[in-house]
Amino acid sequence: MKFSKYFISKFIEILIVIFGYIIALMMLFAFKASSQLVFGISITFLVICFAVTLTGYLKRRRFYNNLISNTEKLDKKYLVLEMLNKPSFYDGEVLYEVLYEINKSMNENVKKYEMSLTYFKEYIELWIHEIKLPIASLMLMNHNQKNKVDKRYEEQIKRIDDYVDQVLYYVRSENAEKDYLIKEVSLKKIINNVAMKNKDDLLENNIHFISQVKDEVVLTDSKWLEFIINQIISNSIKYKKDKDSFIKLSVNDLPKQVDLHIIDNGIGIPAKDIGRVFEKTFTGENGRNSSKSTGMGLYIVKKLCEKLGHKIKVLSVQNEYTEVIISFSKDDFYKVR
């Protein structure tokens, strides 16, 4: 806050003061006051005016400078009111009260949306829980009818199940709550679960599934990681090449982290798209060509990895290979429990 600008903003008050001063002068001259008196009164008048303006300025300066610098410093600017002292001048008080009211109503508004989002999330979780029942029934019914019903039914049921899972993990990845549990998990077991899930797809498409994972243990949530790996494997199956396809999983045990490499020899990702594969709804050239892509899978994968504290990276050369690397940090903190 600058004095010069403050002074200019008081333009009308200054005009009024000058106008009053001229009238006073005219009155003094009309009563033929001595020039010393006129001079004395003028000086007093000027000093008083200046003092009033200055004190007004100083009071405001303290309050507003505080407000401005705090707002600049704060990451969450809407919390600035919490750090301000109530001002000692009237217009400042009015401003403070109004800001307080605005803040309060905004908080209520935000809370409303937060609640509706929470309800929505709860409903989605419940709904997924419910929809899994008919899916499970269908799977069992289909199995019990074997020989009469062909394998395509099973594939479609599996697709439905995969898409339902995607919604579930999307909701979980967007939510601020911590609904995962990190513990020591055997990579081999999770990979086996994913392999079993995709067995028919892999065999059908003649994709060689190679796991070189030994007994490595990582710190993660097994359900989430299973979803993550399943998404990556699904992509590998979706974007395979016609001949001699393989998907290879291997582990690199480093001093500070464990890297899981998932490599396929599929169609790869064009160089111009690779930087954007984790973006929401980004489908890229491959997605456009296959029309089965929602652009959500890898986005959710990335979000889940971020929440779990894993790093994920994609390397690819078009028409040659795609490699996904997930890095799990070895954190002693979790082991102590």
Binding site: L133, A136, M139, L168
Partner: protein, 216 residues
């Protein structure tokens, strides 16, 4: 015994297990679930977590106070916390819906196999089967089998006289982290067959075209 309140799933599970040679009883009334379970006679319990009036995890905890019977938890909630809780309450396995029926059968079979003490000395006629060593023994003569061949042989042996589909064999192999393809399975079966021939067992494995294999 199946405790699952979704009628269709319960029926289909019953059907699935009965065709696999198990005797099944189900619970239809959930007024005194715990007492009803404890008063029933069964070798293995499939227990749903979400039941009317009572929670499966609670039932599990109560049953474990008095019995060591194998229990597999079934649930549609894919939450790690549920699984950890169930396992810590003493569940033998935990399967998330929608489960692959073949895998479910496999897990059940595994639990029963674990319960049998003499896992390592199965017999096929006058031949002793040592699974862990990967050998068959007859009259002090040994036959080495690879891991895959052993898995296939055991799977056929456990279903002796019945047809085992290629899909079932495949599931068994994949479940043991042997991710073979269709060709490799064919090769493995024929190699197992010729090894058995060399060992003096003739025509033991019969091929049923379009259906699977049968151990005579």
């Amino acid at each position: 015994m199946i405790v699952e309140d979704d009628k269709i799933i319960s029926e289909e599970l019953t059907h699935l297990l009965e065709t696999s040679g198990y005797n099944v009883i189900t619970l239809t009334n959930y007024d005194n679930t715990l007492e009803d379970i404890l008063n029933s006679n069964f070798d293995l319990l499939l227990l749903d977590i979400n039941l009317p009036k009572v929670n499966g995890e609670f039932l599990l905890k109560e049953i474990r106070k008095v019995s060591n019977v194998p229990i597999i938890m079934l649930t549609s909630r894919a939450l790690e916390t549920d699984e950890v809780l169930s396992m810590s309450y003493g569940a033998d396995d935990y399967i998330t819906k929608p489960y692959n029926p073949t895998i479910l059968l496999l897990r059940i079979a595994n639990i029963f196999r674990r319960m049998e003490k003499n896992v390592n000395s199965l017999n096929y006629d006058d031949i002793k089967v040592y699974q862990n060593k990967g050998i068959l023994v007859r009259n002090d003569k040994e036959l080495d089998l690879t891991k895959n061949e052993m898995l296939i042989f055991l799977c056929l042996l456990n279903n002796r006289g019945n047809i085992v589909t290629r899909d079932e064999l495949m599931t068994e192999l994949w479940n043991n982290e042997e991710y073979v393809n269709e060709n490799a399975l064919t090769v493995n079966v024929s190699r197992l067959r010729s090894k058995l021939e060399d060992f003096g067992i003739h025509g033991a494995i019969e091929t049923r075209k379009g259906q699977g294999y049968k151990l005579l």
